[in-house]
Symmetry: C2
């Protein structure tokens, strides 16, 4: 029997208990052992809930029980999760988590502690929710030089952008809707300003290139400046606008950024709509492989955590996840990457636009009093220099096909 403690009995935590209970036979067969939830830690009480029997308010009960093999955390936040993770691993127990903040901030350190203690620190659910992406990156796509990972890995913003696209609603209206439906939090900053996506792409980058990529180093633009006017053009041109979180390798340089991006239906991530998440992995031999699925939600996220539990149960005293080193990987300046840009400006900027850029076409009949065009391919620096010479710029969005 493999004994498990679940930290946090909120949405994901209760999902973990439910997945194991519902699929007990299947997970036992996959783990070659019987999985048994021995403790659930939560500060709250749950009168009447069957979890009462195994509920504890005290982490010491768990850490001091030599029978506990695996601790699955779904509390979120850095504290006390970081302390709990460290103590769990140091006690020679395995840890898995859906907590991206923890992994982005302390992943390298925790993996090293896991390795030193011959146990595992896993986090399949921290990126892409239910989509298997962490394990494929380290177990499946092992023959390739990974030259790009681009993900739509924040469900809230993708839901909002999809609604704006298909229903022509304004940013404020769609944010309110998303909050009412529980897709966005009361303080939506982490999602809409891109910080959630930044943490996730930092995790994928660190894992892929084997060194700590700090999320603070990744230039991040969210979706809060995207308006229904941008979508008026996108719709007319058959384009989508997605929040891309991307890491790219060119020679020895690694670039990463998070930014809204206009895409045509030729782009492999174009069909990723609504709360769906999607990750494109480009290998130098493999070409493009895409992973699509539920980026959030109780059971999909819990399913990913339980897949970590199963793998840890098979490797209780054997570290299987490759560590990334805490040595920091310096990112090259993402402003050096070249893109085509979509530029919207008020009509009085027409002369400047034609002087500074070589637009193939000017779209001046979509929104009154303004026009838009696509620039030639150029670096962000070159673009900034030109835009500095131009008044009346309303919106700038990069484009990829």
């Amino acid at each position: 029997m493999v004994n498990i403690a679940v930290l946090g009995y909120g949405t994901v935590g209760s999902g973990i208990v439910e997945v194991i209970k519902t699929n007990q036979k299947i997970v036992d067969a996959k783990a070659n052992d019987q999985l048994h939830v021995k403790y659930v830690l939560d500060l709250r009480d749950f009168p009447g809930d069957p979890v009462e029997e195994i509920l504890t308010h005290d982490f010491e009960d768990i850490i001091n029980d030599p029978e506990v093999d695996i601790v699955a955390e779904a509390m979120g936040g850095l504290n006390p999760a970081f302390t709990f993770a460290k103590r769990t691993l140091e006690a020679g127990k395995n840890y898995c988590t859906s907590n991206k903040a923890l992994v982005a901030a302390h992943g390298a350190e925790l993996m090293q502690i896991a390795k030193d203690n011959h146990v595992n620190f896993m986090f399949e659910a921290a990126v892409g929710g239910g989509i298997p992406i962490i394990r494929p990156l380290y177990q499946c796509l092992t023959a390739d030089d990974i030259v790009e990972i681009t993900g739509i890995i924040n469900g809230t913003t993708n839901y909002m952008l999809t609604k704006m696209n298909t229903e022509g609603v304004s940013y404020d209206a769609v944010l309110k809707q998303a909050q009412e439906l529980g897709y966005a939090e009361a303080d939506p900053t982490a999602d809409v300003e891109g910080f959630d996506a930044t943490r996730k792409i930092a995790i994928l980058s660190s894992l892929t290139y084997g060194q700590q990529v700090d999320f603070e180093d990744i230039p991040t633009t969210g979706i809060s400046k995207i308006t229904d006017k941008d979508f008026a053009y996108a719709n007319k041109l058959g384009l989508g606008i997605k929040l891309f979180a991307s890491v790219r390798k060119q020679g020895d340089k690694i670039y990463s950024y998070v930014a809204p991006t206009m895409v045509s239906d030729k782009h492999p991530l174009f069909p990723v709509n609504g709360v769906l998440n999607g990750v494109l992995v480009r290998g130098n031999m493999l070409g493009d492989t895409m992973f699509f699925g539920s980026g959030a939600g109780k059971l999909p996220t819990a399913s990913a955590v339980v897949s970590d539990i199963v793998e840890e149960a098979k490797n209780l005293k054997n570290t299987v996840l490759p560590t990334w080193t805490p040595e920091k990987r310096r990112l090259a300046d993402a402003e050096d990457l070249a893109f085509v840009y979509f530029v919207r400006a008020s009509k009085n900027a027409m002369f400047d636009a034609k002087n500074l850029f070589v637009p193939k076409e000017i779209y001046d009949d979509v929104v009154e009093g303004e026009f838009a065009f696509f620039t030639e391919k150029m670096s962000g620096k070159e673009l900034a220099e030109k835009l500095a010479k131009m008044d009346g710029v309303l919106s700038v969005i990069r484009r990829e096909d």
Copy 2:
């Protein structure tokens, strides 16, 4: 150092050598050891090719060399591949292959021999080419009861159907094109009649449900009866026609079939066009996860074989792939599954159609002299009974959304 022998120096075999050579540092790091191609077996000579130095015409050189740890086969066909696989595993060496015919016919037996000898028999490249799907099924999606796998897993037919859809060309014309481009073989039967897809879904079914699913038991309809007239309706209605290979679990019953299917843009596999492959995996907790990528091609397929080599190199004396038992899994009758069907018929069948079915709409202005409609949802048996009472039926295609 891990010594590898590559069997067959055709497209995939030479790709394996190329992937290892190009990405030597990366694959060595992933394998925690140095990968070294010591032999290439081929009946042909390759004067001037660097492979000459390691070329052998005699399998005995490989099987008798105690330094060889891994044999990677890319010859295709059952003979002599089956003999080579068996002898390799019995000699305590690992085997990996892109040969779906071999896996579908002898997978259970070869996995058992591998297990008995504490080595591995792997076949990531046998289904979906470069798309990681075998390894995700046994290593990643371990928390779920897999209730459906549906794949577009034959690139030739998907290329042909996409061309027919977008360019309105006839079946014969597109087949000729595909042959000229090397996407279809001179004898295209295995692809166009669905037998290739059937072998692949049999492999995925066996792996998922742990028992041998014989491909001969899977009812298979290819695309050779799909005409440009079917696409005239599909285009008008915004639908695609895809060759689906599917396995579904309902209660304790497992159903499998291969058949052309009309899909709307709501279906997760709708965006899988051209030579792309796509696999949808539906779990009872996870919901839908999709894997898209290159289903064929020299380097993507070779990349998948090399990912097997890397995993075998890490587990030279440790069987990691779960076996499926040779005990045959009886499939339930796929004709019991209920679908909506698209039916095309000549105009004189209108009266019968309205009597036998409850069509919501009749499409009688798309192709002269005929009409089409969608049936209500019904089993294949019920459909067959009704169609037997109706003259002038031109085409029947199942539909899914």
